[in-house]
């Protein structure tokens, strides 16, 4: 069950990380990725307010015929988007490991400024390891 791509969006709605993990995915321009992230962020906020019941979370799963997109929002407002196969059921475990890698290799990196685009080699390397263990199953 391949995982296709990962997007990380900061509290303000800016895209801080984007990576594709399978071949053959169409590449957009970096501007288009930023617009995509911003749009998703806004939709996420709208959906939290849309529910008739108070205390609702925003979009968690977006399903289509060709892909499925999961969104996990951390308590700090950072959103992790994972685009996978439509057959993928639960990304709880993968998300937890990605969040752990983020907390380790991004937050503990002295050269990283919070809310800025992520450029940490160890983060890329470890994410690739995590995704590989899922993609090659």
């Amino acid at each position: 069950m391949p995982l296709h791509s990962l997007y990380i969006i900061n509290k303000a709605g800016g895209l801080i990380y984007q990576k594709d993990y399978t071949e053959g995915i169409a590449r957009l321009s970096s501007n288009e990725y930023l617009v995509l992230a911003g749009t998703f962020h806004s939709i996420h906020v709208i959906t939290t307010k849309l529910s008739p019941v108070p205390g609702s979370s925003g979009i968690e799963v977006l399903e289509s015929d060709l892909f499925k997109m999961f969104c996990i929002q951390t308590p700090t407002g950072t959103k992790f988007l994972l685009v996978t196969d439509p057959s993928q059921l639960n990304v709880e475990a993968i998300m937890r490991r990605i969040y752990e890698a983020y907390a380790d290799y991004v937050m503990k990196n002295p050269f990283y400024t919070p809310e800025m685009p992520i450029r940490a080699e160890l983060f890329d390397v470890n994410l690739q390891k995590i995704i590989n263990t899922y993609n090659l199953k």
Binding site: K108, P110, F123
Partner: protein, 193 residues
């Protein structure tokens, strides 16, 4: 009247003084990251940044030496260079990181240089330097620490940290220890006896 709940404030409880007590790596990593960021604002270049970290390490090393010797049973004051380096390699590393350093070598070119390697230094685990800082090695902190330990035992020297990553151990770090002339003279006097 005795309360069964431990309601004392965290800061009033005694520090865990047992030998094998550990600190959380996450807590240390955040503190270390902040130390590097603090220094970065106050320095001009990479060499300066490493010097600041080495100074931090020096101040930690002085205290670490006293603590390690205090807690070590059968601690003997080392007078020979090789014994001292073995002390750093095993006892000191064990008290800092819970395991001995990975290798100790004598340089072929100069007889006053020795190299201590650690294949995966735990304090550097989460640091990824960007391209502008490619030559920066935060192991300078450890270099300062080891320098303080050796200075404190009357082996004046200069210690520098170098990254010697290879395929097997991409984050391998080596400390180059260069002893003062006085140490080598004393060592030769010992051998002469």
């Amino acid at each position: 009247m005795a309360s069964t709940l431990n309601t004392s404030h965290l800061l009033d409880r005694p520090i865990n003084r047992s030998r094998g007590s550990e600190t959380s790596l996450a807590a240390f990593s955040f503190l270390f990251s902040e130390m590097i960021q603090y220094s970065q604002k106050r320095v001009a270049g990479i060499a300066d940044l490493e010097k600041r970290l080495a100074n931090f390490g020096y101040r930690v090393g002085i205290r670490e030496l006293e603590l390690t010797l205090l807690r070590e049973k059968n601690a003997k004051r080392e007078t020979r260079v090789l014994q001292m380096l073995i002390f750093v390699n095993s006892t000191l590393w064990k008290s800092l990181f819970g395991k001995a350093a990975d290798s100790l070598q004598k340089s072929n070119d100069n007889d006053d240089e020795y190299m201590l390697s650690d294949n995966d230094p735990v304090i550097l685990k989460y640091i990824s330097a960007p391209k502008e800082y490619a030559s920066f090695n935060a192991g300078a902190f450890l270099a300062g620490l080891v320098e303080a330990v050796l200075d404190g035992c009357h082996f004046p020297c200069r210690v520098t940290a170098h990254s010697t990553g290879n395929e097997q151990f991409p984050s391998c770090m080596t400390l180059l220890i260069k002893f003062d002339k006085s140490v080598m003279l004393r060592e030769r006097a010992f051998e002469g006896k």
